[in-house]
Assembly symmetry: C2
Homo-oligomer: 284 residues x 2
């Protein structure tokens, strides 16, 4: 496996076909969209108009592989194995993936012919969702690590956050609303009851959105969609390692066991629709 840039291949380089990409080590398997595996992560992907990818240049919603018959018809769920599972490794460890665009993708961002290397992207989210045919599809949200190098065409806005490869950024929102929720719980984690105290007597907790904000999930930034959590449980919620039942029990999604009730506050009403959306994202 070779994660990251390939020496001698700069973003913007165009290759006539898969053989040419294989020759330089850019995308190391013939005629597959994703190269990678569950052990070491996914090293490269091709966007070429397949499935229902959403390509906005610096931001991509990418669909995993699998579940199609030889005619390209979706006949089964996609599974979290091979390069689909690999993308979760990238997400967990902040590993970048090489993005290559073919000629059949979104016109505004795709080369007219051949396959263009568009640089490194980070995997920001991984979840699953039924497609229009009813079968589950693995979905990924990617962001260009260096937007300047990432896309060889003009007109992309707004600029995303600049990162360096190998650095994961966890966004933690803190607004008047999330501060109100955190104060309501006295900064005590609603899942594990931890209270973190920092120097100066400052308490720390995070406002965690159950249904994610922003595209493509479009969760609301409202109290009913926010929990007061410690960083560990915030991460577990975001990655789908824990989920909530309709009655707000906390379930460990890996072992399937009950962790206990979500600690409630009388003045805080949690929106069950958000809880259901979150479960749906991770197949619970």
């Amino acid at each position: 496996m070779a994660i990251g840039s390939v020496p001698g291949v700069a973003p913007g380089a165009v290759f006539p076909d898969y053989a040419a990409m294989i020759a330089v080590g850019l995308h190391r398997q013939h005629n597959v969209g994703m190269v990678g595996g569950a052990k070491n992560g996914t090293e490269s992907i091709v966007l070429n108009g397949g499935y229902d990818d959403v390509d906005s240049g610096d931001q991509i919603i990418y669909t995993g592989f699998g579940g199609r018959d030889s005619a390209g018809q979706q006949i089964a769920d996609q599974e979290w194995k091979g390069a689909n599972a690999g993308m979760r490794v990238n997400l967990a460890h902040g590993l970048p993936v090489r993005v290559i665009r073919g000629p059949n993708g979104e016109k505004a961002y795709s080369p007219p012919a051949g396959y263009r290397y568009d640089g490194l992207y980070s995997v920001e989210e991984a979840w699953e969702k039924p497609g229009p045919h009813g079968f589950l599809m693995c979905r990924f949200r990617l962001e260009a690590l260096d937007p300047a190098a990432g896309v060889a065409v003009a007109g992309i806005s707004p600029p995303p956050i600049r990162r360096v490869a190998g650095t994961t950024l966890r966004r933690v929102r803190d607004t008047a609303m999330t501060r109100r929720i955190k104060a309501l719980y006295k900064f005590r984690c609603q899942m594990c009851a931890t209270t973190m105290t920092l120097p100066g007597g400052v308490s720390y907790a995070e406002g965690a959105h159950i249904r994610p904000l922003g595209k493509p999930h479009d969760g609301d930034d409202v109290e009913g969609n926010v929990l007061c959590l410690c960083p560990n449980d915030h991460l577990l919620l975001d990655r789908g390692a824990v989920f909530l039942t309709d009655k707000l029990a906390v379930i460990d999604g890996i072992t399937g066991t009950l962790r206990g009730p979500l600690r409630p506050a009388p003045a805080h009403s949690i929106d069950v629709d958000c809880v259901r959306y979150h479960r749906g994202m991770f197949g619970y």
Copy 2:
């Protein structure tokens, strides 16, 4: 208290004196460098060549207040109270601080006369350090939230990460070296022994630098300066709520109690100089 932008006052606005700033609510106390408190955070600070601030435009190392006699001589340690303590509240909760530059600051970034509002900055770090006179000084690292608006003069580079006010970003580095350390510990936190498992059987931990990387701490990105920690303990280490003894015991800095030994791995040799530097940052 009024954290954040002041309606009607745009970055770049220049005021002849403190009275003019007070009149619009930009900086609400006469002739002090910092306005804020331990309860609600610090709302505004003035850079005007005092103490040993380091002004690089979008990045500022700012020194707290206190410990001086009426002639401006440092005669005592600074203390974590008032607006110094307030900056820790900003750090914990992602609250921005208004930055105002006076005529006696770093020439490249300061107005020739009067006081210029330079927009919102985030508080990225808070620590303490003896000054040249031997007295402890409270120190803060700030970053412009919107570099375009943040400084009204040209020639600033490189552009920092763009954020929106109220969003805290935790940078988590993941390199071949940190992955090696995490694998060595099988992703088990060296402080609390937690192992976090994510969907797909992916384990998660973070490579935490003991002496921080980058300016002004200049820690090395080497194995001896890295621990394998869960996100909660990573945050506690970064903020100085835990520290290590020379013999690598983990001490809760808030209660002063022993949490236990740092779980060691035979192949991992931790640099005691880094441990000492970290203690020095937080007055342990």
